[in-house]
């Protein structure tokens, strides 16, 4: 029994120690320059479209996330889905928010801008572009781990 106890204890401790070293290296990857850069760009992009959406929606207004591009809808959910008041049904929304993916330029978030479409009291359609933040460069932002 002593031999088996020794064997199990040594094998267990060596395996745990070896995997612990591997685990430490895995965590260190999170601190690599590339990882930090990608995370910062991703953060800046979503903060940018969040700020632009805030510039387009007044408190109390209901919103629907428009557009036919599923990826854009997901991006909007990620950017400002937590605070917008979603309209039900969608046709009753005060504001329709969409993303316009274009080329990089001033006033864009990696080339993307948030666009609001509303209907004025006279029935006229008003299109406004979000303001208040920009991130230079061309998107999309680096893909975070799934």
């Amino acid at each position: 029994m002593t031999v088996v106890s020794t064997l199990v204890a040594v094998v267990g401790l060596v395996a745990l120690g070896g995997q612990a070293v591997r685990g430490t290296r895995t965590v260190d990857v999170q601190l690599a320059h590339r990882t930090v850069h990608d995370a910062s760009v991703d953060d800046a992009f979503y903060a940018c479209i969040d700020t632009q959406a805030h510039s387009l929606v007044r408190p109390g207004q209901t919103v629907t996330l428009g557009g036919t591009n599923l990826a854009d809808v997901v991006t909007m959910i990620k950017g400002f889905g937590s605070w917008v008041t979603v309209a039900d049904p969608a046709s009753s929304a005060d504001v329709v928010l969409t993303l316009h993916d274009g080329s990089a330029g001033p006033g864009t978030c990696l080339g993307t801008t948030v666009v609001a479409t509303t209907h004025g009291p006279d029935g006229r359609t008003v299109v406004r572009v979000g303001t208040g933040a920009q991130v230079p460069g061309q998107g999309p932002p680096p893909a975070p781990p799934l």
Binding site: M1, T2, V4, S5, T6, L7, V8, A9, V11, G12, L13, A15, L16, G17, Q19, A20, V21, R22, G23, T24, R25, T26, V27, V29, Q30, L31, T35, V36, A39, S40, D42, D43, Y46, T64, L65, L70, V73, V74, I77, K78, G81, S82, W83, T85, V86, D88, P89, A90, A143, P144, P145, L146
Partner: protein, 496 residues
């Protein structure tokens, strides 16, 4: 207010909500410290569910639930003062060395957990974290009517919003009390809850070392190895769960909580304190994610079965009724959210299954997809077989539960996750590529915990060869036959 201060405030708020119930049921133990915020997170989850069910704000419900729990605890202590705050476990092992080991083990595990969270220095927010886990907290802070719209409307494509609420509800509490509504605060809150679950699971291994030392001739050795194994397991778990440990994903929380539930409910000596710790951790696992829910239901059944044991089946009423009542209450709490999702016709609440002709292909793909993440089984299976065959008396003396309980829990969780993939309707290839490393965290971690526990047991075997070994063995067996239903059931590892 900085994110650090806001995170501390959020965790303290959850800890305050969970403190009294944990102290009353688990007792004054080192592992009660990480369990208190987790119990508070369970209260937040129940508050979110109640808010969606009946109306009212999340914070009002949390205050109500915490106050009701505290009042219940106080009333119980007035009516049954003998219950008190549970003291130390009966039997030997209450000496100065044991107490020092408890303090040192706690401090080292906390330090290892803090070191493992250094990935938080990078401001990463994971894809699912941003699109779901850290987006829903805003919904929980909307009014009841708007929350119903958010959960139901088909215009939002997010079908995962019907996932259990614990994580998002906990973040919502932090957002509400601090006024800071940022994904960054959400990530740090989730990471600290992960660390609490990790610390609780690791401290169970310290407890195994302390129990083993109580009947060892050289007590310092199992104590030291128990602490060392616990610290190493923290570092191992950080490696297995990164980057998701520090980017706001839910998988580490349910996986670590389930591992802790197995440690306290199925691996440690079965006593009221460890069973209460298991209840908290089972609820955390089951209220965090769908995979955790299925695993938690299985763990409820396994812990109840162990508590009942053969004595309960033979008609010992006290061994039968209490575990069944606890299990039913756990299942009711776990089932509330999924039942509510069905009742309100929430998006994503309906299941989809693939055609039967796909099953063979999907099963094959799942086996191959999971294999690279489960290579630790190649080490753990022979180690556990060797231990089960040769070290079973040592295991009993150390008051560790039969190893088969932990393996059953592991297999159950693995099968639950694999079944969801096999019977799901999504394309299996991309699904596996994007999730296999996350959803195998629980079985991988559980296997490492089995290795850790056997390591401590084996060291106890090295110290138990003194002249008084025989009398100690008899004492240990008598205690274990009384405490551990498996010993009487006669599964592998039983000498009966």
């Amino acid at each position: 207010m900085s994110t650090v201060v806001a995170t501390v405030a959020g965790i303290c708020a959850l800890g305050a909500a969970g403190l009294l119930p944990v102290l009353a049921t688990v007792g004054l133990r080192w592992y009660s410290v990480p369990l208190a915020p987790l119990a508070g997170a369970v209260a937040a989850s129940l508050a979110a569910t109640a808010s969606l069910t009946f109306g009212g704000s999340l914070l009002d419900w949390l205050l109500g639930i915490a106050a009701a729990a505290a009042a219940g605890v106080c009333a119980l202590l007035v009516v049954r003062p003998e219950l008190g705050l549970r003291g130390g476990p009966p039997g030997p092992g209450r000496g100065a060395l044991d107490r020092v080991a408890g303090i040192v083990g706690f401090l080292l595990v906390v330090m290892a957990c803090a070191w493992s969270l250094r990935g938080l220095r990078t401001p990463t927010v994971g894809f699912d974290a941003r699109s779901l886990w850290l987006m829903r907290p805003g919904w929980f802070l909307h009014g009841h009517t708007q929350l119903l719209v958010d959960m139901r409307t088909r215009d939002l494509v997010l079908t995962q919003s019907s996932y259990p609420p614990l994580l998002s509800a906990s973040v919502a509490v932090a957002w509400k009390i601090t006024g800071i509504h940022t994904a960054r605060l959400g990530v740090t809150m989730v990471a600290l809850l992960d660390a609490c679950a990790l610390a609780a699971a690791a401290l169970a291994v310290v407890q195994v070392g302390r129990a083993a030392a109580a009947r060892a001739s050289r007590a310092w050795l199992p104590l030291a190895v128990g602490i060392a194994a616990a610290v190493l397991l923290v570092l191992v778990a950080a490696g297995v769960t990164e980057p998701f440990l520090t980017n706001g994903y839910a998988d580490p929380l349910w996986s670590l909580a389930a591992v802790g539930a197995v440690a306290y409910g199925l691996q440690m000596r079965s006593d009221p304190s460890s069973r209460a710790a298991a209840v908290v951790l089972v609820l955390v696992a089951g209220m965090t994610k769908n995979e955790g829910f299925v695993t938690a239901v299985a763990l409820v059944a396994l812990v109840a079965a162990r508590s009942i044991g053969m004595a309960g089946l033979r008609g010992a009423r006290d061994r039968l009724v209490a575990p069944l009542v606890v299990a039913v209450c756990e299942l009711a709490a776990l089932a509330w959210w999924p039942v509510l999702m069905k009742a309100i016709h929430a998006r994503g609440a309906t299941s989809t299954f693939s055609a039967s002709q796909d099953l063979a292909h999907r099963t094959d793909a799942v086996v191959h997809g999971f294999s690279p993440y489960l290579h630790v089984l190649v080490l753990a299976v022979p180690l556990a077989l060797l231990g089960g065959l040769v070290l079973r008396d040592v295991r009993r003396r150390a008051e560790v539960g039969n190893d088969l309980w932990a393996w059953l829990a592991l297999v159950t969780g693995l099968v639950a996750v694999a079944s969801a993939l096999v019977t799901g309707s999504g394309a299996i290839g991309p699904w596996l590529l994007s999730t296999a490393h996350r959803i195998t965290e629980y079985p991988t971690l559980e296997t490492w915990w089995i290795v850790g526990v056997w390591t401590v047991v084996a060291v106890a075997g090295l110290t138990g060869s003194g002249a008084d070994d025989r009398s100690l063995r008899h004492a240990g067996e008598a205690a274990v036959v009384e405490e551990d239903g498996v010993g009487a059931v006669g599964l592998v590892g039983s000498s009966r």
